[in-house]
Symmetry: C2
Subunit: 436 residues, 2 copies
Amino acid sequence: MAFMAPSSSSRPLQFHEHASARRAAPALLRRPRSRWRRNQLVCSLEATKQAVQEERPAAVNGVAGRTDCYGVFCTTYDLRADEETKAWKKVVSVAVSGAAGMISNHLLFKLASGQVFGPDQPIALKLLGSSQRSFQKLEGVAMELEDSLYPLLREVSIGIDPYEVFQDVEWALLIGAKPQGPGMERADLLNINGQIFAQQGKALNAVASRNVKVLVVGNPCNTNALICLKNAPEIPSKNFHALTRLDENRAKCQLALKASVFYDKISNMTIWGNHSTTQVPDFVNARIDGKPARQVIRDTKWLHEEFTKTVQKRGGELIQKRGRSSAPSTAVSIVDAIRSLVNPTPEGDWFSSGVYTNGNPYGIAEDIVFSMPCRSKGDGDYELVTDVTIDDFLWERIKKSEAELLAEKRCVGHLIGEGEEELCEVTEDTMLPGEQ
Amino acid sequence: MAFMAPSSSSRPLQFHEHASARRAAPALLRRPRSRWRRNQLVCSLEATKQAVQEERPAAVNGVAGRTDCYGVFCTTYDLRADEETKAWKKVVSVAVSGAAGMISNHLLFKLASGQVFGPDQPIALKLLGSSQRSFQKLEGVAMELEDSLYPLLREVSIGIDPYEVFQDVEWALLIGAKPQGPGMERADLLNINGQIFAQQGKALNAVASRNVKVLVVGNPCNTNALICLKNAPEIPSKNFHALTRLDENRAKCQLALKASVFYDKISNMTIWGNHSTTQVPDFVNARIDGKPARQVIRDTKWLHEEFTKTVQKRGGELIQKRGRSSAPSTAVSIVDAIRSLVNPTPEGDWFSSGVYTNGNPYGIAEDIVFSMPCRSKGDGDYELVTDVTIDDFLWERIKKSEAELLAEKRCVGHLIGEGEEELCEVTEDTMLPGEQ
């Protein structure tokens, strides 16, 4: 049987040099190597805060480009040697931050199963934890992935330093963020999480694939995405997304419920603006079985006064019912968001994503991350849908969401090289109910 | 647009009679109907204990055959009317008990996504909770399924009475069971959970499809499966399975780790016996890249003394690492178990399942549920693999697991119509580490 290096370039050569030693003592493979123990101090939360002040934390320069493969995923394989796998694509490398959290607990298994990137797309998962404490949990996650025997999942590595974990990744799903604690203001959250996303942006800029696609889920996700892309000037700004797909999915479901049709009849649903309570779910352009939603739902009062509230309170209702947040459906919406970029958008339809405004046709402020209608050819890229009608009802609300995003941007000027923190005037709590 | 009744026969006619009313006031659909409130007392845990003494709890006779559709899943649809769905199969109806629990939290989304039954198999999920308290959680689960917009998921209904939820189901995935509390002996657990599975067996016997396939996950799953099938005399005993697939998956992973090969190289892995610490993971017949495992792994001491322990302690290790039980990989193994029955087994390979012993070729005691190597043509049925070599090493251990299952059976004589509880001599705690 031929042993060959995996096709991803992120596997450090060093491991292959020791391949025979590893085969002789595989039990060792399931422990993080000692250099990780050395690095953990550098990568603790305290250190992270310091690190974002620097271009790159000096102490990790010595181990650039290494990620720690885990257990059975340290074995070599040759996809071309087997009948079943020889027609597969080259391995795609996907980083996930917050990998020990509840959303990842669902998402990683979906990624590994093939339902996101397709049945002929082998995958390497690079799991990023936030702290020393999360390292052990990441090992547990990797063990469960081992036990799942997913044929497409060829590599799993774990780490807490984004400069290592993001090495050559083609997708970065940035889920991890500090939750909004009791009494914490949105301005505080913007600053705390902004620092994390500034560092991750720098790390992506330094080590990721030059065409990496970045999906920001951690809140406040639009402004976190802006911070991230501003700290990654060598990566196209167009490659950064803030997740508003869960809002889109919930909006579709609520229109379906109101119209008493199955949800597959709802199309052309836009979420405009910020992933916050200022977001604008667009019933004006949505279609139900091909017809304008307002032709099917005649209850204008409900559309104008209830629809948006119904969409937004969903997360809070779920917490109330289940006693936990909506991790499964959030993971599903991340899958949907990725699938919308790697599959052609159905003719005449579109999807929503928080994207960088740079020459948008709607007169929305430039240089922010704003959710808008998009289409894709299925190549990982997208184009804006440019001919959507914005009526007065929508416009008034879109301007509010735009104003909020501009205010958030002023709060994080120190993280995007555009001013000082003192200008922060965000006071209202616009976090969606049930989110953190 | 044509409105037609869904193809599953489990939808009560009553809802269709009121279809126009429901369309006029869809907000009402998201509340359980008042008759559920009336039924909940009958279906509480206390009542459940009484109910197993009777052929059927009298108070639910009046509402036979009803399940409570949820939200958008109460809408009618016509698969034949749409280009994308007209080639789909008839809806398959799948009941899941313990539907508000952690394993279901993963499993239901996998079932709904199409990865279990295939991309042209629409599905109806019937969620069974255990008590009034779980009802609200089930609503939360149904809401998350709504928000996921899975095209294949056409019906979701929720309930706490198995006689309603199991109506016409073609699959019953019995996950819910009381956990083993501190100080609780295995004999107590056998009795408490045995009563639940006796009642569910009776309910399946009364209302499920005559060819329903039943997969028991709740522990102690082998004996629970025996109790269930004994209480369902009108359903073929061959249709009942106890889940040992997670053990099989873990055993494959450990052999792969030891041999330093990727896990897709491991085949022909049998778990013999009980899903407990007496189980026998079979390295004698397992193959690595087509060769007998013992030709590849020369470390006989490890195979004889470490391998089984390594497989069995995995769940405990995971709890230690993650602080929670292995719900995601358990859900994956349930998916694997079902897929092994609805897809043809690859040539020369087999899978493990706890099945009813009735004319087995290995001299294992008849009339128990014992994990053995199986093959399927992909029609939902299976046949035993009859030519596996059992050497002295295996046989000695298989006999111990058999003895344990016979002892467990004597403990539940009162639940299978074969004697009294007093004969119970199960004292040792053989629960696998990390399980409940």
